[in-house]
């Protein structure tokens, strides 16, 4: 990204946000296309609708087809209250209570541990790779 690109983002951020109905329209269009793409993907290689949507909206933003001020407000709003949207999924585990009863505490421990393993391993690996590449870049510079 060159300097004008950075300036562009700053400039975009200062523009007035598009009306909510336009923002909703863009989201609806992206989700509609994502749904089609998701259906035509082979079953053995599923790419979920939201992931397609994320990729499409990102490409649209990067190619400046969609401008930041046309989606920023709605996306900020949705990300801000995503916790509420997730509550039903959490409560869904009510269905799995029998599962926990059967396999007991070991499974829960394994789940908690594996979450932590994923978090630590990926964070650590990325930190290592980035620091190595920074060193190489510095030496070259």
């Amino acid at each position: 990204m060159n300097k004008t690109e950075k300036e562009r983002i700053v400039e975009e951020e200062q523009k007035d946000a598009s009306p909510v109905i336009i923002q909703l329209g863009i989201f609806a269009a992206v989700l509609f296309v994502s749904n089609i793409l998701s259906v035509i993907m082979p079953k053995a290689f599923p790419v979920p609708v939201p992931v397609w949507g994320l990729i499409i909206l990102y490409v649209l933003l990067t190619t400046h087809v969609v401008k930041l001020h046309q989606v920023e407000k709605l996306s900020g709003f949705l990300i801000g209250i995503i916790g509420v949207f997730f509550v039903p999924s959490g409560i869904q585990m009510y269905k799995s209570l029998d599962l926990i009863k059967e396999d007991g505490i070991t499974l829960i421990i394994a789940i908690i541990a594996s979450t932590i393993i994923l978090l630590i391993t990926v964070t650590f690996t990325a930190r290592l790779f980035i620091s190595i590449s920074k060193k190489i870049r510095n030496r070259r510079a």
């Binding site: 992931v51 990067t62 999924s89 009510y94 499974l107 994923l118 990325a126």
Partner: protein
């Protein structure tokens, strides 16, 4: 019975328990165990359980009422759940805003996610063996880094139990939201925002990404890219790994 066969029963319960959680979280100085999502989830399950006991109906009846307003309705708490889709595509915005980082480091980002995921799989597998979990339980835990829509069919295909995988993916988010950033700080891994973002996005999915967005713009962008890449990489790496360790 009539009053829970109501479109707004599930929505009301979900929002109400979340607000109670939010109140407790603020009241107790943001104590991590009082994360609104965590408290809301426990309270919600408790509410449904109490209803089941007092009304003397099966858990399926209660669950259907909660999820889609009972047998005559289609909408309930699933309306809120639906919004996870639009909320997930929203992460394109924080990602786009840090396109500079993506452009500079995309090779390192991809490599870290692939290598990090593979190492995690090995460690998770060894831990499961040490805990004496069955093959089907191990197969259920391996796909957890992907989102539900990818993880469930994957789990089935390597001989796992989808219900356990679904529970695991949900718990991932809750755990990362509750302790993710503290854990990274305790282990002094918080020197690199790219690493934190990728870690939170991989382990906590979209909820972890929402947390990352709050930490900073680079963290948020990296978590968003992790959600995309890890889903796809998991799809390729996990079946290979499962074959390697001799699951199905």
């Amino acid at each position: 019975m009539q009053f829970i066969n109501n479109t707004f029963f599930g929505i009301f319960v979900s929002v109400a328990v979340y607000l109670i959680g939010l109140y407790l979280f603020n009241r107790f100085n943001n104590f991590f165990l009082f994360q609104p999502l965590f408290v809301g989830m426990i309270l919600g399950i408790f509410v449904l359980w109490i209803l089941e006991q007092t009304m003397g109906v099966s858990s399926t009846v209660i669950y259907d009422a909660f999820w889609h307003g009972g047998k005559d309705n289609f909408i309930g708490a699933n309306l809120l759940f639906w919004f996870l889709g639009p909320a997930t595509i929203s992460f394109a915005v924080p990602l786009y805003k840090r396109n500079d980082i993506v452009k500079d480091y995309w090779v390192e980002i991809l490599l870290s996610l692939i290598v990090g995921l593979f190492i995690s799989l090995v460690i998770i597998y060894l831990m499961c063996r040490a805990l004496n979990l069955s093959d089907s339980e191990i197969a259920s835990l391996l796909p957890q880094s992907a989102t539900t829509a990818i993880a469930l069919p994957l789990s089935t295909s390597i001989g796992g139990i989808p219900a356990i995988t679904a529970m695991t993916v949900i718990l991932n988010s809750v755990i990362v939201l509750a302790i993710g950033d503290q854990l990274v700080k305790w282990l002094k891994l918080d020197t690199d925002p790219i690493g934190i973002g990728l870690g939170l996005g991989t382990s906590g999915h979209t909820i972890g990404s929402a947390k990352a967005v709050k930490l900073g713009s680079i963290e948020g962008a990296m978590a968003s890219i992790a959600v995309i890449v890890v889903g796809i990489v998991t799809n390729i790496v996990v079946p290979l790994f499962a074959r390697l360790i001799g699951l199905k």
